[in-house]
């Protein structure tokens, strides 16, 4: 695969495993075994069955007729919002929990920002009867209270991260510290395509089901498996890498990743990593990172808690650097308006994360007959308060 990972975990200049020695045995065991496990027939059978019967896959590829009329192209929504637990995160959580079981781990830890990954992890831990601890920034716990309650109902212990800026990046630090202290019985399920190798690659593989299904569905619906455009929102970038994965080598397909511009790229309240960041190392990976001149990580801002991560996954950093994918951004207001438009034109309340991808349609021009796929990575129930406050309902 042209844009894939090399044997040391690098995508071009990005990736690797910048981890303290305390984590080396865990990461090495994972690296040595995850491919073997993923190729195992029992694993594949259980994974496929759970995706089908528990998650509800394949998720539909929905031809959005009123969107298509409005934008003058065939617009398709890949409906990850219809998955059990309401987002694409469940694809990865199930894959990693089955892997953890086969590695003999009894305890699962995770970090979460918006709560979708935490909910997905708590869900599969309940399904499998495994102990689950989710780290979440103290501020995010307040912003996403319903998801905190869901995780607790599912039996997870939710631990507030009280250090630093008390958001996702600090929850990730706390989860890594937990793993350092509990190397033998614990597996850390990272939710985005970030972290030390093999995480970015493993998460991408588990999420690649999104583009795998899309190709088949496009072929059935349009007679051609390749669209002209594929769009997805990007925080760390797990839904985007899953949406891009099986199109990466199809160079005719334009891949567009939409970051969160927050209040505007130049306002100092933004999470537009590729515009504002530069190369650096965070959470075990060399990537593009928002930081000060002195290399201190800058806390990003977005109205969407799922997009305010200061970096992007290393494969995205590579795709950006070699111009295989385009990285653009949408502001809070643009995303919220796009979310409302999806409600009004298609009867779908999208997660504010996904609404960022929808917002970019306003800035595009299409040729008649163009096929465009947008990943609707999650549903907007968790964001109702934000929508309500913004629009005054």
């Amino acid at each position: 695969m042209k844009y894939g990972v090399d044997e040391h975990g690098y995508y071009g200049d990005f990736g690797g495993a910048y981890i303290p020695e305390m984590l080396y045995p865990n990461i090495e065991a994972l690296r040595a075994q995850y491919l073997k496990v993923l190729d195992d027939d029992d694993f594949k059978a259980e994974y496929d069955q759970l995706l089908k019967d528990y998650v509800g896959r394949p998720s539909p590829l929905y031809h959005a007729k009123r969107y298509s009329e409005k934008y003058g192209a065939n617009i398709f929504f890949k409906r990850e919002d219809l998955n059990h637990t309401g987002s694409h995160k469940i694809n990865n959580a199930i894959g990693q929990i089955l892997l953890a079981e086969r590695l003999g781990k009894k305890r699962i830890i995770a970090e979460t920002g918006a709560g979708q990954h935490g909910v997905a992890t708590a869900t599969v831990c309940a399904l499998k009867g495994l102990e689950c601890v989710v780290y979440m920034g103290e501020i995010d716990m307040e912003r996403q209270a319903p998801n905190v309650a869901r995780m607790k109902m599912l039996g997870a212990k939710v631990v507030p991260a009280t250090s630093g800026s008390k958001t996702l990046k600090d929850a990730t630090n706390e989860a890594l510290r937990d793993w350092i202290g509990n190397p033998e019985d614990t597996h850390y399920i990272i939710g985005s395509a970030v972290g030390p190798y093999p995480y970015p690659e493993m998460v991408a593989k588990f999420q690649s089901i999104i583009s795998y299904e899309t190709k088949k569905q496009l072929l059935e619906q349009t007679g051609n498996e390749l669209p002209q455009y594929v769009l997805a929102c990007v925080g760390g970038g797990s839904n985007a890498i899953g949406m891009f994965y099986n199109f990466l080598d199809d160079e005719s397909v334009r891949l567009i990743a939409v970051e969160a511009a927050g209040k505007g790229v130049e306002t100092g309240h933004s999470a537009a990593t590729t515009s504002l960041g530069k190369e650096g190392v965070l959470h075990g990976t060399r990537t593009i990172l928002m930081q000060t001149e002195d290399g201190q990580v800058v806390e990003p801002y977005s109205i969407s808690a799922g997009l305010d991560y200061p970096g992007i996954g290393p494969q995205h950093a590579h795709l950006f650097k070699v111009n295989r994918a385009e990285y653009v951004s949408a502001t809070d207001d643009e995303a919220l308006n796009a979310g409302l438009l999806a409600c009004q034109l298609e009867g779908i309340i999208p997660a504010i994360e996904s609404a960022h991808a929808l917002a970019h349609l306003e800035k595009m021009t299409f040729n008649p007959g163009d096929n465009v796929v947008i990943c609707l990575s999650g549903r907007g129930d968790k964001d109702l308060d934000t929508y309500i406050k913004h629009f005054g309902y």
């Binding site: 303290p20 305390m22 350092i180 190369e279």
Partner: protein, 258 residues
């Protein structure tokens, strides 16, 4: 030979190193603390440069880093302070910190500057072997800087041998697989680990760190290694009144004068 290599050539046991975070509790006390530690008898020093996301550190050192950043500590500021290092301090000095500030400063510039001010080695917990060999080793060597690798109870013998081959001053043995500031728990398995390392007869000396906070843990560590490092316990000391004047007492509590 750099000062670290000279030290280890001359003194084989009961070495004591102290870690502190530059810029904590005050921005401009780095050299005052270093000088006081040398006068109190420390054998070598680790000066930490702060990072916003120190995943290998516990709450004590993390808070000291946050405060140091608030105080305005940066690598630029630290190197300016260290231009007078060798006028005031003779013992070996290591810099300890995370890789991202080094990447931003520029690895070559960082190593040149460190060598210029008289730093002898570097400890970068999130820089594993592969990344060091591929991206950094040549620059470290050109500037006569020792890179210190960490070893934990879970590090395999094969990997320890590799680390020994890449080291040229000492190897940092973690007392447990944990973050800094955790309590040293001398269990049978930990003693087995220390014994296992000792029996490997490594080419490089070993120093035990993490969880060394008093005379008992220091003495225990010195039974199995060439010495020990005190970090979080000293950073806690820096939060007390008259911390400079009471440094001799702090050192005496760890390693009483014979």
């Amino acid at each position: 030979m750099n000062r670290l290599q000279t030290l280890f050539a001359n003194k084989k046991s009961n070495l004591l190193s102290i870690y502190f975070t530059a810029g904590y509790p005050e921005l401009n006390t780095t050299l005052d603390i270093a000088e006081a530690l040398e006068n109190a008898g420390a054998d070598f020093l680790e000066i930490g440069f702060p990072y916003s996301d120190p995943v290998a550190d516990g709450p004590t050192i993390q808070k000291s880093s946050e405060k140091a950043l608030e105080n305005g500590m940066t690598l630029n500021v630290l190197f300016k302070q260290l231009t007078q290092l060798r006028e005031r301090v003779n013992i070996p000095v290591l810099l300890m910190g995370y890789i991202n500030p080094i990447v931003q400063y520029g690895i070559e510039r960082f190593c040149q500057k460190a060598a210029e001010v008289g730093v002898d080695g570097v400890i970068v917990p999130d820089l594993p072997i592969y990344e060091y060999e591929k991206l950094y080793a040549d620059t470290f060597k050109q500037n006569n800087l020792s890179n210190i690798f960490l070893v934990t109870p879970n590090t395999s013998e094969e990997r320890i041998r590799k680390i020994d081959g890449l080291s040229n001053s000492f190897i940092y043995l973690l007392s447990s697989s944990s973050i800094t500031g955790s309590t040293l728990n001398v269990s049978t398995s930990i003693e087995d680990y220390y014994k296992r390392i000792k029996e490997m007869e490594l080419a490089n000396p070993t120093i035990i760190g993490f969880g060394i906070s008093n005379n008992a843990s220091y003495t225990k560590a010195c039974e199995y290694a060439n010495g020990a490092i005190v970090g979080s316990a000293f950073v806690k000391h820096l939060a007390t009144d008259n911390y400079l004047q009471t440094i001799p007492g702090f050192i005496d509590n760890i390693r009483p004068k014979s």
